[in-house]
Amino acid sequence: MSALNSTPPVEIPDLEEQTMDRAKESFYTATQFQLMWLKFRRHKLAIIGMFVLALFLIAMLFAEFLAPYGSQSRDADYLFGKPQSIHFFDDDGNFRGMFVYSVISQFNIDTMQVDLVEDRSEIRPVNFFAKGEPYKMWGLIKGDLHLFHVEDAFIHLFGTDSLGRDVYSRVIFGTRTSLSIGFIGVIISFILGLAIGGVSGYFGGLIDDIVQRMIEFIRSIPTLPLWMSLAAILPKEWSPLRVYFAVTVLLGFLSWTTLARRVRGKLISMREEDFVFAARIAGSSDARIIWRHMIPAFLSYIIVDLTVSFPAMILGETTLSFIGLGLREPVVSWGVLLQASQNIKAIEQHPWLFFPAIFVVISVLAFSLVGDGMRDAADPYSH
């Protein structure tokens, strides 16, 4: 111990100072993006949200692999089936790995109804990365590998619906639809908001006045009733896929106003900045000034606004589909799935049909948290 103590204590603050300097140096030389990341990382809830969103993204990309069955595949012997329980120990208490019992229907002579009971005679092990129902990933790549699969029986983690379709698989496919609507809608509102807000803010004057009145006007119509009216006029004969695109475009076309306002505000405040003036003197065209000089200066704010507008899209689609004005089978989205639990009776008898709701809430929550974290990080030079 004495040998350790004999080391001169003066060196310790020195070292600390050095690391401090290094930290400072890396802080001062960091790019804008690195600074943002540093700031974002401090927001713990936002990091959790980011992680959840990554999971959703994986579910969206690899739905066919993660879902054991297709969205329309039926288990005809298990209608309105409860979520199956996962077992690890058999009836004698021996550890048998992860397994399920298959379910058989039995006629109950007392209640005169068909009961679904577990067949405890045979163990059905859950195989991971096993071959199961063949599929075409994104309709392109053929495959039959699933994350988990049960041989000669079915596994329904979230139970089944009225036609015996696996709710878990359908929720996974619904994730793809619902999030993709969010993505496309956000891209549409991004382009519109940037273009219209850009023109309005950069040129000012009469154009600006007209655009601003237009935005005020659109915003004064309550969103959901307007969406409902517009969705209701989509022809009934349209194919589900066409309706899907129409609803997406609809959601995107009506939500560009917030972004347009933001872009306009930023452009107006930036129009008089020195670097814009310099670019103009150097002979840059209007388009070049907007795209090369002004937009990069406030891109981070735009990204924040886009993230924050995701939830509105997802909720919009879910609500429209839920009341039957949006998407419809065989397109599967969270809203379409929730249609099955439209009244209290359905929820009372088959509460598991409510599972998609949890996904809706979690995804919206994750987007809001990430958006909040990004809003704090968007201006890394503020303290």
């Binding site: 009341i323 809430v361 948290l369």
Partner: protein
């Protein structure tokens, strides 16, 4: 002030006129009309309908005239006789179909907005003053959850909980004896007793965002120098909070009453349908699917009116609160 109010009022009227036109155009867009749908339904029920009958109905209902003419007719009748047209599904004047239900929608919206402010503003202040306390974290989590849950999910959840655990249904709004009674004070009291599930469902997301806004602006304001000065002068803490930062922080809340109302109104058709409330929401949905354009148009117009009037009110309130606004702002 009067000049400012008048200017805002004129803007509001212009908006309403433009709105009525847009509403009419939107509802005119779909191919096919009520006559076709009606005849289709007749055929489905087994009746023999000739092609001439479609034309006959169309002519009788005035659907064969060009849309600008029909719009002008509709608009003039509204202004001169308060006649919003004829509901083709109910075979009654639109005003009759909507009738008392409109009052319910208005009462519900106003009660909801009042309740959500009454709850959210004090909680927001508390959250900001006790920043990073357990209560603050709890409120933050609740706030996020409230914003993330769509109204219809919340309504379903409430229905589920109340039927499963309390054995009563929260759907419907009046006790039996008041179901068909005309409006009276007692009926109003009875309504207030049954209105809370709808208020909770409609108000939560708005209350959640009000709470977040209130907290954020309070946090900005509470460290301002004028607050420190007041504290240094020895103003008691409670009075200080009320008089200084809260007043300033209320500003953005007041200015968004219009949007707040828009959010509530926007959610109401769905919530009303799920909770089976006797307001205009369920009729709206039905009229949309039936292409009953005068009815759905009128309701869409009512919804928009509520938000436009809300914006007007919040503009005036804001001008009263903040002199910079009524004098045209700082250049």
């Amino acid at each position: 002030m009067a000049k400012y109010a008048l200017r805002r009022f004129i803007t509001m009227v212009v908006m309403l006129v433009a709105l009525s036109l847009i509403v009419f155009v939107i509802l005119e867009l779909p191919p096919g009309d009520f006559a076709e749908r009606y005849v289709h339904d007749l055929r489905q029920s087994g009746a023999q309908v000739t092609y001439g009958q479609v034309e006959y109905y169309r002519h009788m209902l005035g659907l064969d005239r060009p849309w600008p003419e029909r719009y002008l007719n509709w608009a003039t009748n509204i202004v001169t006789r308060f006649d919003f047209g004829w509901s083709l599904t109910y075979r009654l004047p639109v005003t009759k179909v909507i009738g008392d239900r409109i009052w319910f929608t208005i009462i519900l919206s106003v009660v909801t907005i009042g309740a959500s402010y009454l709850i959210a503003i004090p909680l927001g202040i508390y959250s900001a003053i006790k920043q990073y306390s357990t209560g603050d974290y709890l409120l933050t989590i609740l706030g996020y959850l409230g914003m993330a849950t769509p109204a219809f999910l919340f309504a379903l959840l409430l229905l589920y909980v109340s039927t499963m655990y309390f054995g009563t249904s929260v759907g419907g709004l009046y006790s039996l004896e008041f179901q068909n009674a005309p409006w009276s004070w007692n009926k109003f009291i009875d309504l207030m007793r049954h209105i809370w599930p709808a208020v909770i469902v409609l108000g939560t997301s708005g209350a959640a965002s009000t709470l977040r806004t209130m907290r954020a602006t309070m946090l900005d304001e509470k460290n301002q120098l004028y607050v420190t000065v007041a504290r240094a002068k020895g103003v008691p803490e409670n009075k200080l909070i009320q008089k200084y930062p809260v007043r300033a922080a209320l500003n953005p809340i007041v200015s968004t009453i219009g949007w707040e109302l828009a959010t509530i109104v926007s959610g109401s058709p769905i919530t009303a349908t799920v909770l089976s409330l006797p307001d205009i929401g369920p009729i709206f949905l039905k009229s949309l699917t039936n292409q009953d354009i005068y009815l759905s148009g009128t309701i869409l117009l009512i919804y928009s009116c509520l938000t436009i009037v809300g914006t007007f009110v919040s503009d005036i309130l804001l001008a009263m609160l903040d002199p910079r606004i009524r004098y045209g702002g700082i250049e």
